[in-house]
Symmetry: C2
Subunit: 387 residues, 2 copies
Amino acid sequence: MRQSSPMTTTMTSTFTSTSTLSAFPALTNDTFLRACRRQATGYTPLWLMRQAGRYLPEYKATRAKAGSFMGLATNVDYATEVTLQPLERFPLDAAILFSDILTVPDAMGLGLTFAEGEGPRFATVVRDEAAVNALAVPDMDKLRYVFDAVTSIRKALNGRVPLIGFSGSPWTLACYMVEGRGSQDYRHIKSLMYARPDLMQRILQVNADSVAQYLNAQIDAGAQAVMIFDSWGGVLADGMFQQFSLAYTKQVLAQLKRTGVDGQDVPRIVFTKGGGIWLPDMKDMDCEVLGLDWTANLTQARALVGESKALQGNIDPNVLFAPPEAVAAQARAVLDSFGKPHTDRSTTGATHIFNLGHGISQFTPPEHVSALVETVHSYSRQLRQAV
Amino acid sequence: MRQSSPMTTTMTSTFTSTSTLSAFPALTNDTFLRACRRQATGYTPLWLMRQAGRYLPEYKATRAKAGSFMGLATNVDYATEVTLQPLERFPLDAAILFSDILTVPDAMGLGLTFAEGEGPRFATVVRDEAAVNALAVPDMDKLRYVFDAVTSIRKALNGRVPLIGFSGSPWTLACYMVEGRGSQDYRHIKSLMYARPDLMQRILQVNADSVAQYLNAQIDAGAQAVMIFDSWGGVLADGMFQQFSLAYTKQVLAQLKRTGVDGQDVPRIVFTKGGGIWLPDMKDMDCEVLGLDWTANLTQARALVGESKALQGNIDPNVLFAPPEAVAAQARAVLDSFGKPHTDRSTTGATHIFNLGHGISQFTPPEHVSALVETVHSYSRQLRQAV
């Protein structure tokens, strides 16, 4: 999860109208979107969770100019600048909006702050009936700085690669809203869930409706695909995951717009960190792409999911600390694990989008990322030639 | 994981000879051991990971007397006292040695220390070839305080319930040895593993041999079952788990004594936190019991494992923060999920040992534990009557 703070914003840019947005230039590289749609591609597209981030010196420079992460995330120009930075270094196949998953609960009025090196904190925690009853879907106007950033980034991309919008899942947002910060044991939210499931469900219902509106506004602003990060779904017990996370992710999916401002369909990606064990529960979800972390075996996942969804993942970001030749070997292993993707351009089939199983570490040497990208592109072309 | 420190110890008790140990009294309650052996029992036995711990005021009182966790863990009398404390409160079906998983690397000379509220730290970290080459199986005499505690506890139990010995897995010990402390991202050990698998394998080989000797000495001292905690196996990528954790756990299992000092077989339990996704890889392991965390579905696990192993687990310890009636409902759900256990006393079959999916939290109200224990015992009797 990326750190940010929406807070009060002094953005002056105006929300661009749909008619203007439909004038976005055609995509030069649609490999990622084709793979999302289970269409054959010449190679396996890749992007990296948290690809715009602290491992890049140019990101640190922009952040320094912005003064803080909060200043960075709420400034459309800076958000646009850092979103594009990794594309200048690496031939990645998608860009992802630079923002934070906690923008939505902040817009609900919970008071997000960051202390340097401590991660996010909310001034208000949601742990009792009064706090739960006070929750409501936020006015999307408070999140206008996010939608403005989407439009700005899409324009700046100029058709180079598609732009992915995103949100935390209802459950993952609730973890922060109830715990008030990151947690090791999720004691507060699980206490609430087991003791007062009715209150927990009310929080999740507000979150599901909020996330749906938030992602729809990103789609209207120009997002070409959207991803729901269920970063903490994996901490739930079997049975509770299905009831308190998956059910609400499904509610979001059901409410999402299927067509973007340019008339193209907008693929929906769902990623539950630590959720590989529940793949049988997720395989029939109404989305186009399932994200998997590195604990999942892609051969088995592909066999289970069949051709109904594209799979995204799943190298351990810690691989990137190894020397380039070891990075390349592990990248090939992930591609081999998925196996030869669908290559028939006349129909749809099983496709793979290469990604990390979690956000890239700030300690990653950028030249190791180059080795990863180069290997994924070249080896996945070879793999398609294999008989 | 429990905190402790062996360090230098001034233990004066003498390691009891095998002939003396064989005079241990017969078990009054062998329900746990019968379930480990896949024999029918009148109810589902239960014990709780970290059942002797800070949620008990009497534990805190003993720890205060001992002056520190280190003083507690290395003093045979105190270790015996706290091991028995939860049995005085709750009719649990097994006791587990009070100790820490880091005793073994400490005996290797890595210099374990504890700063209050900070968790364990090693003075020496094992990250380069020289440090790896310097590793060796420790002299088991340095761990005599542990074996003395096993004998003392077994005597004090006086046949009431069986005593479980334990160790961290080779991989889990290595995590601490390489990271030097608890970690969020396992960056150092994964860097070593991906960059220098040869060094990683050497560490794991030393650990496997050390753990085997350590558990065998616990068996010789009177342990009636042994458990291997692979607390951090779940952080590995698919493929790496099998190669860097499971393979070495198997090496430990292959070296373990199968018979205790009383001539009884000694069941071996393996628990990989976060390892449910790899159950197909673990189901044929040479052990008697597989532990599962709360993400696993017991119905599915039972179907997969069949009658080849007992299953131990798997309620979320956070359930214990809910009111007693909610605790009871969740306990019944776990028992229902496993289903009716094998009841034919003439043969072996599918058995269940109830446990948490992780250690009990220090914030747990003890009366909620009472509700759990009572429900598991009573409801599991009912379940056996069901047609």
